[in-house]
Each structure stands twice: as structure tokens, then as C-alpha cells.
Amino acid sequence: MPHDANRPDRNVSRRRFLAGAAAAATFSIVPRHTVAGAQETPPSETLGGALIGCGGRGEGTFRGLGRGVKRLASCDVKYKDRADSKTFYTDFRDVLERKDIDVVAIATPPGWHALISIAAMEAGKDVLCEKPMTRFIAEGRAVADAERRYGRIYQIGTYGRFGGNRGMRKVFESGLLDKVDTVIIQRGDKKVKQWSGQVRYDIRDVPKNLDWDMYCGPAPLRPFHPHRFGGSHRGYWDYEGGGLADMAHHQLDRLAYEYGRDMTAPVEVTPHAPPQHPEAVGLWSWCELKYADGFTLVLDSGEWGQPYDRLRDRHISEADVRGMLSEADRRKLDAMPDPPPLVRFDEAVRTRRPAGGNADASHRVAAIYHLANIAFRVGRAIRFDPKTEKIIDDEFANRLVNQPMRAPWRLG
């Protein structure tokens, strides 16, 4: 979309405000209600917002941007019948060109999450993106790179970690604990059958209002059938990763924060599942994910095969984990600062401090369920290097870590 030269460039004052606010925050923070009424957002703090992906969770995700965000643009590939390049769009690139948009809520199918998040940050926008964060591991690293490169705010659309135990986090973050024997088994609630894909279907004509090519985006341009569209997109590897990818970011976010799993990644991943279909997500039984420090996470679907029985649940409390430290290390720990409270998206935008569910942390959470799904798909145990973010000695499994994209879509 060509930029409208007559449109007031509200960004100028907004960005100056943000920069000033970040500096001023060191000294004082003036609550909004002292400037205006408690329910009223001062005009100077109004942000221009856009929602990209308007179905399903879209409205809720947009509300997650916080108060004081005015919706200037709504973008969805199913808006061919109403796109006017002013308020309604089908192509997110046109939205991101607009200088008056500061924050973007993304609620498309996840095959688009990384690409739009990155593009938004390249365009200088802050991003609130629905979960799951990404479709594959390399996308998460690219989102984190863009967040760092452009100094933008990124927050994943789940706040599980915000209720996490900061005392536990402190121990795991301290680096004082070399080994743990924790085993956490998450049973059920992965919606495996619900979000499976169809292997038998009828090819249909593409609805007139839908830009199907844009919907498929970086994935292969498949023939249209309705089950690939809407919420059931979750059942196709092209767009998501089944119920596991849909649910796990919620369920793992808090765990990853408390146990410091968002600073690393599993190193050994053992799956139990029937052979997977090349396109449709299918059944799985369980996946065991071991970390280098001995921490073990097990995802047990309860929807196929026998229940997981290789290890038993072994949870630890904050007291337990402190008890694993020597007296000297406990003293060192007590002398360390507590982890700072996590910053929500709107506060992060205002203060320019990283959001609690920032891209780097969220990428590590996403890597857990992506590794499980890779192991299911390749049908074998895999070993992962958290530093290089590659699967060790398995060229073919690595092809799922960084998957080719259909032109013109690309990472970086």
C-alpha cells in the first residue's frame, strides 16, 4: 500500500514519547490516571494498532495489546470482498508499510506467525503474537534475532509464566545447580484426535472472498479443502503441529520459566507414536525430553497406545531445590538479586523493557513441542544441541528444524 502523504504522521510524537518515557522511567513513572481520568487514556498515549488474522482468537489477541490502542487496520486473507487498503486488508505487507501503526496483534494460523512477527519488527512495530509462536525451530531463532536487531517488543499470546514461582526461577537461573533428577509428566489435554488432519477429503473450489495462495503462504500451495481452513488448520503440518503445538505453549510456559527451561533446550528426545502422515497430523502416545542437567519432561497424550511408564513423576518444590545446594551456594544465592517481575506487553511498550514472554524465552518453549513433533514425524529418537539449535548426526531430522519456504517467503 502506498503511504498516504496527507495522513498525519502520528508516529513522530509517539516515538519521541516512547523514547522519552524509557529514559524518564528511571526517575519516575506518572500513572495515567493522574494525567487523565482513571478510565481514560490520554490522547498522547494512544497507539495505532493493527490486527492481522481476524478469525478465531483475533479479537482477544487485539485486546491483549492493552488500553489506549486504536485499531487502524484489520487484515485477513478472507477479506477479498471488503479490502479497501484503508481499514481492511488481505496483505499484511500493506499494513506494515503504514507509519501510523505502532503495535500489531497477530492471530493468523501459526504458519504465518514468525514471518509476520519478523516483518512487523523490521517495520518498527511491536508485536503481540498468538501461540504457538512458530511452526518450526529456526523460525523462533529468526524472530528472536529480529527482536534483538530492531529493539522491538515481542510478547507471545500466553501469560502462563506470569504466575510462575520466582524463587524456583532464581535457583535455576543462578547456575549453581548442575544436576537435577526432576521428572515432570504432563498427562492428557493435548487435543490430539481433535486436531488431527484429514487424509481423505474432497478438493473444493476456493471461496471467492479467500486469497488461498496467501493463506498457504510459505507452505506448499495445496488444493483447497475446507478442513485446512479455520480452526482445523491445526491438523496440518503445513500450518501448525496438531493439538500438541496448539496446547503446549500454554502448558509449558510456566514450567519453562520456573525450571529455567527457557534458557536451554532438551538434548535427548524419545518418541512413541505410530508412523506419521506426510501432511496430516496424527496420533502419538508420549514423548520423553531430557535436558543436559537431568531434568526430564514427559508429554503423555493418553489418546493412543499404552500410558508412559518409563519413569515416575518426581516434582520438586522451591524448598527441595534450595536443599540441593550446599550451604555456601545457598548463601551465594541469597546474595543474588531476585528475578525481576515479568513485564506485560503494554508496560513493555511503554517502558521499552523486554516483555516477560519475549521472543528468546518463547522460542525455547516452542522448541520443546517442536522437538517432540519432529521426533514423532521422523519416528526415531533424536539428540539436540541447544547451542547450535541443530539435531546431532541426523541430516534428515534437521530438515524439519529449518524447513524450506515457498517463494517469496523467507526467514532473514
Binding site: 504522521d9 523490521e122 488431527s196 474432497d202 508412523p275 496424527g282 517463494a407
Partner: protein, 282 residues
């Protein structure tokens, strides 16, 4: 019993879709694994037969053969049989030459992208001038990586239509320095997406000589293309910094910090300044 009949019996042992058209009921892993192992033991004749059973995606006729073929491709990787993998991929690559529906060929490309190596490149490269299949072939070549860029470069001079974008895009994903000349020329292409992909490829090569080319290309009016080309400048600077060419990196950062004076691009200026700061006195 003929090979065809034996194969059909084995393929029939794949699960039946449930009422929703999904594999969510009565999925017996052992039964599937045994049938796939038997197909593998049958050798190229079975593979050719299985490929011949593929039909339009989603159709009743295609459901079991498609699943069985993918399981077979993955089976050779699970058991670590590289001789079997190569033979299987050669057979599938040969099947691309036959008269088959385009969507079936696209599926074969996908499977070669799953398990193929050098043996698959020639057959995939032959599809790069096919506007319907070039996307599938290019994606498979990017997955294979080793040796793929050479075939893509060879196809570039004669590429037309959609194939040009898919080719340059695949070359950019592989980002080999030997492709730099193609990227440098394509930065001036009349197609915006080709220009953007070429710039990304140029940045990915990490060659200092690309800096002026990229900075010049990014010096255009605000819009999607400028955003993308600017990102390529920053990526190149990062690559140069990583490889120790700090003066070239600094030159890019300085240019961005000085010339991006629109308030809407303050994030680019800030990124460049952070880059300069990170370089320190190097």
C-alpha cells in the same frame, strides 16, 4: 501372486480413515511397520509399483499409497539403510520422468526433499522450468542443500515466469558465495520479489563487496521493499562483524545511522547505532 497383488495386500494394511477422514481409530503401529518393512524388502519394483498407485490427493485411491510411500521413505532413514535410501530415491526420481498428474509429481518432490541427497538433484532440477512444479522442486532442493545450488545456478539463465522467483529464492536460502554474481544482477530485476530475494541472498553470502550494492538498492521510497532491503543491509553487517570484517560492517552501520532520518525509521538508526557500539573500537 503377482507383485502388484502382493503390493496391494501390503498397502491395504495401512489404517482406514475414520468417519472424519482421519487416521485416529485402529491405528496399529506394528501392523504398519511390518507392512512397510515388507515393501522395503521388495526393492525398486515395489517402489515403482507403489508410486504408480498414487492418485489425486485426498481421493480414496490415494490415501493408503500416499501414507505407505511416506512411511517407506522414512523407514529407510529409521533403519539407517543408506544404500536402500539412495536406491529408493533414485526410483522416485525416475518416476518424476513418467506421465503422472502434476500433484502426484509434487508429492514425489516432497518425498525427495524428505530423504533425498545428490542422487535426486538432477531429476528435481529438470522440473525447475515447469511453472506448476518449480515451487515443489525448488523447496526439495533447498531441503537437500548439498549440491543443490549448483543445479539452481545452472537453471537460472534459461528460467522464465514463476520459475525465476522460485530459483532465486532457493539460491538465496542456500546463500552460496558462488551465487553472488546472480544475486548482484537480480537486485535490479523488474520483479520486486526477485529483487528482495536477491538482496537477501547477497546479504547471506557475507561478502563485503555486496555492501554498496545493497545500500544503493535500499535507497528507495518508504515501503515494503525498502524495509526488506534495509534488513538485508543489517544482516550483511552482522555477517561481516561475525567474520571479523569490522570495518566493512561499520561502514554499513554508519551509512544507515546517518541516512535513515525519517522518524518512522528510527528503529533502523537505533539498530545501526547498537551495531556500531557492539563493534566497539574494533
Amino acid at each position: 501372486m503377482s507383485v502388484r497383488e502382493q503390493l496391494k495386500q501390503l498397502v491395504d494394511r495401512m489404517p482406514d480413515p475414520d468417519g472424519r477422514g482421519m487416521f485416529t481409530e485402529d491405528v496399529d503401529k506394528d501392523r504398519i511397520d511390518q507392512a512397510i518393512a515388507a515393501i522395503h524388502a521388495g526393492g525398486p519394483e515395489y517402489v515403482t509399483g507403489l508410486a504408480g498407485m498414487l492418485a489425486e490427493p485426498g481421493s480414496e485411491a490415494d490415501v493408503k499409497p500416499r501414507y505407505a510411500l511416506h512411511c517407506l521413505v522414512n523407514h529407510v532413514l529409521i533403519i539407517g539403510d543408506d544404500v536402500g535410501r539412495k536406491r529408493l530415491c533414485e526410483t522416485l526420481a525416475k518416476a518424476l520422468d513418467d506421465d503422472r498428474p502434476q500433484r502426484v509429481k509434487a508429492f514425489l518432490c516432497q518425498e525427495l526433499g524428505w530423504a533425498g541427497r545428490g542422487e535426486s538433484i538432477g531429476a528435481l532440477a529438470k522440473l525447475l522450468d515447469n511453472n506448476e512444479l518449480c515451487a515443489a522442486a525448488a523447496m526439495a532442493l533447498v531441503a537437500i542443500r548439498d549440491g543443490a545450488a549448483k543445479a539452481l545456478r545452472a537453471a537460472w539463465p534459461n528460467a522464465n515466469g514463476d520459475a525465476r522467483l522460485h530459483l532465486i529464492h532457493a539460491l538465496a536460502a542456500l546463500a552460496e558465495p558462488q551465487s553472488a554474481e546472480i544475486f548482484a544482477a537480480a537486485v535490479d530485476d523488474e520483479n520486486r520479489e526477485i529483487r528482495i530475494a536477491a538482496a537477501a541472498g547477497l546479504a547471506g553470502t557475507g561478502e563485503a563487496s555486496a555492501a554498496d550494492r545493497l545500500l544503493g538498492a535500499a535507497d528507495i521510497d518508504h515501503g515494503w521493499e525498502r524495509i526488506q532491503l534495509t534488513n538485508s543491509c543489517l544482516v550483511l553487517a552482522e555477517r561481516l562483524a561475525e567474520t571479523g570484517d569490522t570495518s566493512a560492517a561499520k561502514r554499513i552501520y554508519n551509512r544507515l545511522a546517518e541516512s535513515y532520518d525519517d522518524e518512522a525509521e528510527s528503529h533502523v538508526r537505533d539498530a545501526a547505532r547498537r551495531g556500531i557500539a557492539a563493534l566497539g573500537n574494533a
